[in-house]
Symmetry: C2
Subunit: 224 residues, 2 copies
């Protein structure tokens, strides 16, 4: 089945890795995969634009189905291959609600992380303000404290259900990997969750080359 | 069943209305509903914070299940009440992929709309730049043209399947309602889609009081 799948992806892109982790969790190996360079602008190439008019990666195809939004691709793959590999959406309505809730909250975390990490990249120099970045860091810090609180209960839940297998973890791990640059003293649960997830076979198998090989670029997160 | 549900909501909030439309589509009337005032800061009240630590609306509860992210609530309600009311996620994998894809893209549309409509509200005066707002308007205009293109095919799809019933429409309608202030000449398909959806019983029944009673505030969209 995976032979009818293709993924155009870029190294360093959390949405791309999100789809790759999910494909591993669903045992959909052997798909056609092509690494493109953001630096060379290959995400704006005709090859990408034909699949994804936004000129963004990932660009994912399964037969005639094209689904490029990474969260949408995860939902599609889980529904389409429900009985294959690991179940990423649990059966119990209460657990389902929690997975959907955290998955969507994860997008807020992503936005808040991006607005700090990529501030200089996203905002032209003449429009930058120290006060904006300071406020964004405060917002991110509050956000991370919220997740630190959520993770208080993960360990007890994981005694009963393999929550680390679930869609939330697959969808969020690429963001957690940025979070490794945070102070483990200030965010001990996040640090523990990160170290637990990074040993998962799906994550090891899909780890993009040169991902976070240098942490220098994320020094902006150190003083949160 | 709906008697065990409660919704804390605010007028003028697209995420709140999104959940209310979905509840109507699933024939889950009769839930406990309380209108709170953003102006009075009631979304930061203890009553909300106990359900939603972000201090945001909606705050939605169904029995012991709390799910506040509006898209997560829509997914939860559709899965939990699959055989009740209208099916919001289709059975066919290809259609499912499309619904998930547009649902997630809708969040990008929302962000881009918010960054224009709420620019003055979100950014302190001393950090505002005409160049930022101009760029945000250009990005929004490109985004809207993309959706205008997507809607080229809606009419043919709707001959076969009631796509207007689907989750994407429920999730997006509150945003479309802002879009009514756009030039129908420039975005004829969006205008047609809006006028088609606004007649749906679920949307009529849940229409928040004073929603868009004044269009003056959205004049910023007129010159897109």
């Amino acid at each position: 089945m995976a032979k009818s799948m293709s993924l155009l992806w870029g190294a360093g892109s959390p949405p791309c890795w999100r789809v790759m982790i999910t494909l591993e969790e669903k045992r959909l190996q052997g798909y056609k995969r092509k690494l493109l360079s953001f630096q060379k602008g290959e995400h704006k190439s005709q090859e990408v634009l034909e699949l994804n008019p936004r000129g963004q990666l990932p660009a994912f195809r399964h037969g005639d189905v094209v689904v490029n939004e990474s969260t949408a691709a995860c939902l599609y793959l889980e529904n389409r291959f429900q009985s294959q590999g690991n179940r990423l959406i649990p059966d119990s309505p209460a657990e389902q609600a929690l997975v959907f809730q955290r998955m969507m909250e994860g997008l807020t975390l992503t936005d808040r992380l991006n607005s700090v990490i990529y501030y200089d990249l996203l905002v032209p120099e003449e429009e930058r303000h120290d006060s904006t970045l300071k406020r964004s860091k405060e917002t991110l810090s509050t956000e991370l404290q919220l997740w630190e609180g959520y993770l208080q209960n993960v360990w007890s839940i994981s005694n009963h259900t393999p929550v680390s297998l679930r869609l939330t973890a697959s969808a969020l791990f690429p963001m957690w990997s940025f979070i490794q640059t945070l102070s483990a003293g200030r965010f001990p649960k996040l640090a523990k969750y990160y170290s637990l997830l990074k040993e998962r076979p799906s994550i090891k198998a899909s780890w993009p080359p040169q991902w976070m090989s240098s942490r220098q670029g994320y020094g902006v997160l150190k003083d949160l």
